[in-house]
Assembly symmetry: C2
């Protein structure tokens, strides 16, 4: 069985690493802070001293890092993955990062005889824990098939979208659709509530028609329950929308509604709500309207 | 069986009137232009000369009119429904119109001993023809139960939302969610296409995750198929978003993303696209980005 290196043991990375061990993969782990490494070492993983050290011991290296600059530093920086990788290694970035960076790193990897996939996920920490993540994959057909047993230990809806970067492009599309759906449901429920109509009944009725969405279902219910425990954080959604807008800038695609909702999440950060679930955007609409849905 | 009066025999009203006849209700019909009246008269309906004349012959009167001013004129104007209605008649506005007007007319109706429901629908001309409309109802419990056999001849997902106006509030919420979902899917698919990724694959992958919606499914497919035959027209969506914004003004609820997408549909009207399906908003994003999803 391939030995897997796992770098980035945060809220998503740690349960994903555990699922790989559960599936029987030998695991080498690394994290910026040491606590998570020691924890997984007790459960059977080997700890490594640097990304280079991880790569030197692994057939496949998975990254689950917060943002694009982290990915670039861990892969191409000093004592990075590229420094330790052997030819034929497979590198998979499963965090959400820039599609432009994904394409650049994939080119650099190929030049070193390394395969690379971008394979960002959707489904949050619950999906990570239950191995039910959706996985959107960019890269070569061969690399996709080599990685498939690994993905099957982590998620359910696994789609090969296209060449290098295509997974990150799909994830950017996913995030902008989700964010705009959250804003739409927020505006709709606050409007109903302040106009004297039960927002729970409105949500229920609308789920039977063209307005149906998973966001109306799950995040709409969160808004009614005042349950803003993440899930996916405001700060993460803000970062992801920034990636979508940067992609729009790179390819000259104006994204006016995405730009708007990015600014709304900016206001949420300004309000100190960065660690709430992204459905808490309803709090901003409520504040603007001087009311509450519940 | 109650005799039903039906006023407004357009793309929605005509198939709905037919479904009522099919269910066995005696039908009296009226329309601004005479053609549709003559057509239904051949199929067994009685033609009437005015809204007053319809009301004088009916137990239940249904309105399916283009916009709020039409509703006000037909109900409260000269030779209108109120002029011909007997006490105990039930008046049902099934078009999409102002919730504020719905509440005013319901109060006026009660003062005349007439029951009134607002019961706007979702599902388009296909739902009207197949009797699969979603129906969102505002008004008293008694009136709702009296109208239920009529609604069951017209639709499937029939929900009593609340008191007078609640149906129109729910419909406004429905429309703003649908419009923002259309804009989101448009931005996402155009971004993917111009970044070199197959938008059909992106749509397919995203249907398995948190970005899932009926709009991504049905209207996303329309965008890929370049199928902009309505369905629901740009001009109708523009009108409906205006109703949502007017409701926001009435109750002091800022709706920033709804205001944005209303202006996008304004641009679609300016471009001469009023009679296309509302999913054609993608054409505007494509024009701004100088590209096509297909």
């Amino acid at each position: 069985m391939d030995t897997i290196g796992f770098i980035g043991l945060g809220v998503m990375g740690k349960p994903m690493a555990r699922n790989l061990m559960k599936a029987g993969f030998p695991l080498v782990v690394h994290n910026r802070s040491r606590g998570a490494v020691d924890e997984l070492a007790k459960e059977g993983a080997r700890g490594a001293t640097s990304p280079k050290d991880v790569a030197a011991q692994s057939d496949i290296v998975i990254l689950m890092l917060p943002d694009s600059p982290d990915v670039e530093a861990v892969v191409a920086g000093k004592d990075g993955v590229f420094d330790g990788a052997r030819r034929g290694m497979l590198l998979i970035d499963m965090g959400t990062s820039s599609p432009v960076l994904a394409r650049k790193l994939a080119r650099d990897a190929v030049a070193r005889g390394i395969d690379m996939l971008d394979a960002p996920v959707s489904g949050g920490d619950v999906g990570a824990a239950n191995a039910t993540l959706s996985i959107m994959v960019g890269g070569s057909e061969d690399a996709f098939h080599r990685a498939l047993p690994v993905f099957q230990a982590l998620g359910k809806n696994i789609v090969h979208i296209g060449d290098a970067g295509a997974g990150q492009v799909a994830k950017a599309a996913n995030q902008l659709i989700v964010a705009l759906a959250i804003e739409a449901v927020s505006e709709a429920l606050v409007l109903a509530a302040k106009a004297g109509v039960d927002p729970a009944k409105v949500r229920q009725a609308l789920l039977g028609g063209f307005a149906q969405s998973r966001v109306l279902d799950l995040h709409g219910q969160r808004m009614l329950d005042r349950n803003f425990k993440p899930g996916a954080r405001v700060s993460t959604q803000h970062k992801d929308l920034g990636i979508a807008l940067a992609l729009g800038k790179e390819y000259n695609v104006p994204l006016p509604a995405t730009a708007h909702v990015h600014q709304m999440y900016n206001a949420m950060l300004a309000g100190g709500h960065g660690n709430l679930d992204h459905s808490s955007l309803v709090l901003l609409i409520e504040e603007m309207a001087q009311t509450r849905v519940k």
